[in-house]
Amino acid sequence: MAESAATPAESRPPGTAGTAVEKPPAGEETREWEPVIVGFLCNWCSYAGADSAGTARMVHPTNVRIVRVPCSGRVNPRFVLRAFQRGADGVLISGCHPGDCHYSTGNFYARRRLLLLKGYLEYLGIDPRRFRTHWVSASEGQKWAEVVRSMCEEVKALGPAPSLGNLV
């Protein structure tokens, strides 16, 4: 299963291609490919931040599938690799600003782990631009919208993530 980065979305196995559709419904033949981004958001800051972006009706892309976690420290690095293996085009982890963790230090530990993970994903052949970590507080709806918009644009430009040889 040795596909290159330029694998077209259509050639991927069903279920891994997110919003890409093999046969567009009538009248929508030219529908654009949209990346799937998995977002792990800390319950106390970023999830609330995303919520405030929503309640303020800020327009931002809907490509991020949000998984709510108690803390960025809850994100096991395996989650990230698994997301990529199962067809994510990007993974976004977002938590409280360093120093503002609800559990005091969770995001500091997470930062060390995720720094290592970042280097390792590139080592494994995953473009580092597909994996981002941001600190978004509960009041930073604006920043959340900004983060999502910029990441979405970047991943879109990169195209579908190369397959990691998963069976599913």
């Binding site: 395996r78 698994r82 060390r112 720094l115 280097g119 052949g125 990691l164 069976l167």
Partner: protein, 315 residues
């Protein structure tokens, strides 16, 4: 900076001293069992647990006594009998790993230490012709390439944990660890590297020998064996193998002692340290830990600095 491993000329005397010491500990009841090596069927020492003074006579110590023994302590967690164990420099790092992870009580141990200037790689020696092998094992000279990889960078010749030392400590020259294989891989094109690693995963038969031998892989219950949650799918696919090696390497990141036992026991000869070394290298570069393979009271991923590099700057 490379090390120049040599063979200890006095190994026969050390072996005699080891047998004597083990026999003494066993006969005086100081330990109930003594972990060492005995001669294996092909002349390569294999782990062995002596439980009587007579059995201590079967213990060997020679240039092929490479297998680490600390992991076998986990089979003896039950009960409160004392256990004797023989370690050289790197063997003591493995033991220290188990102790620092609080997986075995120090007070139940009697550690016999042997300063070590180098050990041969049994697989490389096995590949030699019979007479060549005999010459090497008798009195050298030995091609540096026959030593275990870990000996070429080792700067811990003397056991860091011991109750008895069987010979005089050796002089120590400290040097910064280097990771030439990782640097080589990092210099590759990303696609090319991904392709190379895919080939590696495809060869893996998931025998778990690397996990079983690793002194840092010492959890009570291994996540790779769990059904719930199912961290690792049972299907054989490059992705599952990638996940397996990712979990294995990440879970020992910051605790890996760089002994390379995983690589030595790999049944399909995978260069597994290329995965572990990447973490060691990054830990030094990101968190300033100079010698991350030496067990410390607080491991690099078990602590943090408020001034650690920030992730947002990384894009």
């Amino acid at each position: 900076m490379p090390n120049n491993p040599t063979l200890d000329k006095n190994m026969t005397e050390t072996e005699t001293a080891l047998r004597r010491e083990a026999a003494r500990l066993l006969s005086q009841g100081e330990v109930a069992v003594f972990l060492g090596h005995e001669e294996g069927w092909d002349g390569v020492p294999v782990p062995f647990a002596a439980s009587t003074a007579a059995e201590a006579g079967r213990l060997v110590w020679n240039p092929l006594s490479a297998p680490h023994l600390a992991k076998y302590l986990l089979d003896r967690l039950e009960g409160d009998e004392k256990v004797g164990i023989v370690v050289n420099g790197c063997g003591s790092l493995a033991l220290d790993r188990i102790l620092k992870d609080r997986r075995f009580p120090r007070e139940r141990l009697h550690v016999v230490g042997i300063p070590c200037s180098g050990m041969l790689d049994p697989a490389r020696v096995a590949a030699l012709s019979d007479e060549e092998r005999e010459r090497v094992l008798k009195d050298g000279p030995v091609d540096p390439g026959l030593f275990l990889d870990r000996c070429s960078w080792c700067d811990v010749p003397n056991p860091v944990v011991s109750d008895t030392l069987l010979s005089e400590p050796l002089p120590v020259v400290r040097h910064r660890p280097e990771y030439p294989r990782v640097a080589e891989l990092e210099a590759m094109d990303r696609e090319e590297r991904a392709e190379y690693l895919r080939g590696l995963y495809e060869r893996c038969i998931r025998c778990f020998a690397c996990r079983n031998v690793c002194p840092a892989c010492n959890c009570r219950e291994c996540c790779l064996d769990q059904w719930e949650p199912l961290w690792l799918g049972r299907a054989t696919s490059p992705a599952e193998q990638q996940m397996f090696h990712f979990i294995r390497a990440f879970d020992v990141a910051g605790r890996c002692i760089r002994c390379g036992e995983c690589e030595r026991v790999c049944s399909v000869g995978l260069p597994l340290m290329e995965l572990n070394d990447k973490f060691l290298k990054d830990i030094t570069e990101l968190f300033g830990v100079e010698r991350p393979h030496i067990p410390a009271d607080v491991e690099p991923l078990g602590c943090f600095e408020p001034g650690d590099p920030d992730l947002e700057d990384h894009g």
